[in-house]
Symmetry: C2
Subunit: 103 residues, 2 copies
């Protein structure tokens, strides 16, 4: 298996809207389960309410092409993404791992 | 083993300074290898130079206490962190995983 690609989305959102947002995020993420190339996704919530970025989504895909195919042609997913942008400012991008260290 | 805690640092940095920064980041991260409670760390680099956040560091620790002990009382580590802040704006915070989905 190749290294794949990492999709990271850093959200700017008011701490008091996080609970509502997480519920919708979970429904949206479930739409991707089983998509070709999808490996896993984790949504991280800041422990402190004054952290600048309250939510960070880290997902792993086999390839950029499969990520694109699964997310950009999925009508229900896209409309949910558009709805989510009304309460949180997303900063999505694709990444590669450049350093990895294990303890 | 418990779920542990996730430390995420989102960096704002000019794309043309990323190469230099990554080299120093690697040296700094090596200082934490073997620290009690350290599990692993990955530094992610954006595939595109115009992504807002060029670098995202995701690290896993057994506990907040061990993360704090390893990073905040380590003189060489701290001075390297301070040096790094001259070329990149860090946004560090601790997170918990609130949703996890596997494909």
């Amino acid at each position: 298996m190749s290294d794949g690609v990492t999709f990271i989305n850093v959200f700017e959102i008011d701490a008091d809207r996080v609970d509502e947002f997480v519920g919708h995020w979970r429904e949206r993420a479930e739409l991707l389960r089983g998509a070709p190339g999808f490996r896993d996704v984790r949504l991280h919530r800041a422990l402190l309410p004054d952290s600048r970025f309250q939510l960070v989504n880290v997902a792993h895909w086999d390839s950029e092409e499969e990520w694109r195919a699964a997310t950009q042609s999925h009508g229900q997913f896209q409309s949910s993404v558009a709805e989510a942008a009304r309460v949180a400012t997303p900063n999505p991008a694709l990444y590669q791992v450049v350093v990895e260290i294990s303890g």
